[in-house]
């Protein structure tokens, strides 16, 4: 049985020290919101999400091979 996976790019303080992308196994009904929970990330109303280069809402369903980007509000200037 094939396992569906997505690639996750975390930015800002969410990114780990290793600066690496993550791979996450997903199930059929997973959304961004459930993926965020699976990644043990505390949700925040200001996180900007993108799936495959397009702005996305937290309730967007995820599919095998998707690229999910999560950007928290950063302000370094």
């Amino acid at each position: 049985m094939n396992t569906a996976k997505i690639t996750v790019k975390l930015f800002g303080p969410l990114r780990g020290r290793e600066n690496a992308d993550q791979t996450l196994a997903i199930s059929e009904n997973d959304t961004i919101q459930s993926a965020v929970a699976r990644l043990a990330i505390e949700p925040h109303p200001s996180y900007l999400y993108s799936v495959n280069g397009k702005h996305a809402r937290a309730d967007t369903r995820l599919c095998d091979g998707d690229m999910l980007i999560i950007l928290p509000p950063i302000s370094g200037g």
């Binding site: 600066n19 109303p45 509000p73 950063i74 302000s75 370094g76 200037g77």
Partner: protein
Amino acid sequence: MFSGLDSNDLERFKRQLTLSGYTQEHQLKLKNSTALIAGVGGVGGTAALYLAVAGIGRLRIVHSGALTSSNLNRQILMTEDWIGKPRVDCARETLRRIASSVQVEIFNERMTPENTTGFVKGCDVAVSARPNFPERSALNEACVRQGTPLIEGAMYDMDAYLLSIRPCVTPCFHCLFKDADNRWQELGFPVLGALSGTLGCMMAVEAIKVTTNYGDPLFSRMLLFNLARMDFNTIAVDRDPVCPVCGNRDSSGGDKI
């Protein structure tokens, strides 16, 4: 107050006047433009520097506080002899030495909902480079109210994002980020000067494009990058139709009828 291109301009800017599609008309627009630089740190100071050497007519710089030693790894307009004194004064002195024809106005203040409208008034573009969410939010609201294009960019560690905003036409800052993250530390984020400078250069490029109508600015697109891996991503971003800042206004900044 401003004028046409003179012989000094044509000599000084002759190398950029050979850019593809960039004409004397673009240079004249730049000469007759004013940019608000909201923050003259590692990002905003670099943007101000490259706008100045490109030939912008006037810079209005807003930044509060005195220079410290720990600013010097990134704040490229600052010099060691200025430690302890206001950064905006040092920025103006450095810019005068490099590009004396640029008019530089300075304000040693933080941006607030009360004073930001006045800073934006009369500017053709604003560069958002303050190190905190409230000042960025105040600047966005003032730009939306006045219909002033805003170049929005921020960084953290080896990451940065950039987009340009045409108020009430493309997504504003508040369409994308609703609230501050209260864990953000204004004076505590990690920063390498070469990264903040890279972002500042890109913001200057966007400000030049927007003011002169050159190229294809990052409207409705966000550039998001990590320089530790040289990983660059572009995201198509959408307006929030019920955005409390821009959702009920037309493109002039006025209320919709």
